[in-house]
């Protein structure tokens, strides 16, 4: 086992997809608590993608996205990223804030308030995802303070892609849809354990 995503077997892929399913389910529950209402969830899709395809999935390399990134420490080291299209981010923030709180009058950009809500949503969703991974693998996973950036998808995704790039030419991406009253938005998780941690995760899952 060389810790390469590229050589992942079907069974490893299936198990990681299941972890993705459970993690996304947990994340949705956490979001529902935050919003104080029911949150619908679509079936998550898990894909092993080439770097070149990563940004295409999120609307192209120049599409504006919000990325929340944090570092993993403890028994699993690496990074975890949560990405939303900017338009989806706006819909999500609308569940929590009034229109005039989201954008400053006459401004294109998110207000400080909207940004901090997104920051917190990212933090909660990633936390929920990681806590299922931690439970399933019995590994202790701690996370750093999250960092957020709003920019072109290609630029945001270059950060996890570079980390994956040290291991191979593909990245594992989990797309999950959630929202309220049929207004589903897509969020994307990208998990980037370092090579050793990846082996540890597979081993803990009995693979």
């Amino acid at each position: 086992m060389e810790g390469r995503f590229d050589d992942m077997s079907q069974i490893q892929f299936d198990v990681l997809r299941e972890v993705g399913n459970i993690g996304a389910g947990n994340a949705t529950t956490a979001l529902a608590q935050l919003i104080g209402g029911r949150v619908e969830m679509g079936v998550p899709t898990v894909e092993l993608l080439e770097f070149k395809e990563l940004a295409e999935v999120i609307g192209g390399a120049e599409n504006l996205v919000v990325g929340v990134l944090l570092r993993l420490t403890g028994e699993v080291k690496g990074m975890m990223m949560f990405v939303l299209e900017k338009s989806s981010a706006k819909e999500l923030v609308e569940l929590l804030l009034h229109e005039d709180e989201i954008k400053e009058e006459g401004q294109e950009e998110f207000s400080e308030m909207a940004l901090s809500v997104l920051h917190e949503i990212g933090n909660i969703i990633i936390g929920a995802y990681l806590s299922s991974l931690s439970t399933l693998t019995n590994l202790k996973i701690a996370m750093s303070v999250p960092h957020m950036a709003v920019d072109m998808a290609g630029a945001i995704l270059s950060v996890p892609a570079i980390e994956f790039g040290k291991m191979g030419d593909k990245a594992l991406m989990i797309e999950s849809q959630f929202g309220k009253d049929d207004q589903l938005v897509s969020g994307y998780f990208i998990m980037i354990p370092d090579a050793k941690s990846y082996e540890k995760i597979l081993k803990s899952l009995g693979l």
Partner: protein, 161 residues
């Protein structure tokens, strides 16, 4: 009007006037343009990592600053360019997330830029212009007809270097 050639992440290609060559959304990656002005031929690489010798799985030559530049030169020479006339322009190498400074993991943009400069210097290729670092993404397009590199960023004016 020529056509526009697109270069993806960890990818490279060459182009001659009147065509143009572009790569979208450079973050911590670096876009490296090599240019032979006398025949208006250029090459563009979108590299992700500084050094192929530090990585075990290094078959993708376009992924690394060192190997991508070598391959770009090879391709340009095959296309009739003269190595002694090459000049370079580079862009990218941003730090997209504000993690605490000095962390090896997050300084990769800076290391990509350093590795690119070192490699070009060792080959005697002069860097005519650069737009690197800071904390935002860039889309770049090179026009071999004029030798100009266009740089677009979110919320900023388009500039040419």
């Amino acid at each position: 009007m020529g056509k526009q050639i697109k270069v993806g992440m960890a990818d490279l290609n060459i182009c001659s006037s009147p065509d143009t060559i572009t790569t979208l959304g450079l973050g911590s990656c670096v876009g490296i343009v090599l240019y032979d002005a006398s025949i208006k031929v250029c090459g563009l690489a979108h590299i992700m990592l500084p050094d192929s010798t530090q990585i075990r799985n290094n078959e993708n030559v376009a992924k690394f600053a060192d190997t991508a530049i070598d391959v770009l030169i090879e391709k340009l020479v095959q296309a009739g360019a003269n190595k002694s006339r090459f000049t370079a322009k580079i862009a990218g190498g941003a730090q997209m997330f504000a993690f605490s400074a000095g962390n090896e993991l997050t300084r990769v943009g800076e290391r990509n830029v350093d590795a690119t400069k070192t490699k070009l210097k060792s080959l005697g290729i002069r860097i005519l212009a650069e737009d690197v670092g800071l904390n935002y993404g860039r889309t770049i397009e090179f026009f071999p007809e004029t030798g100009q590199l266009m740089i677009k960023a979110v919320g900023k004016e388009v500039k040419y270097i």
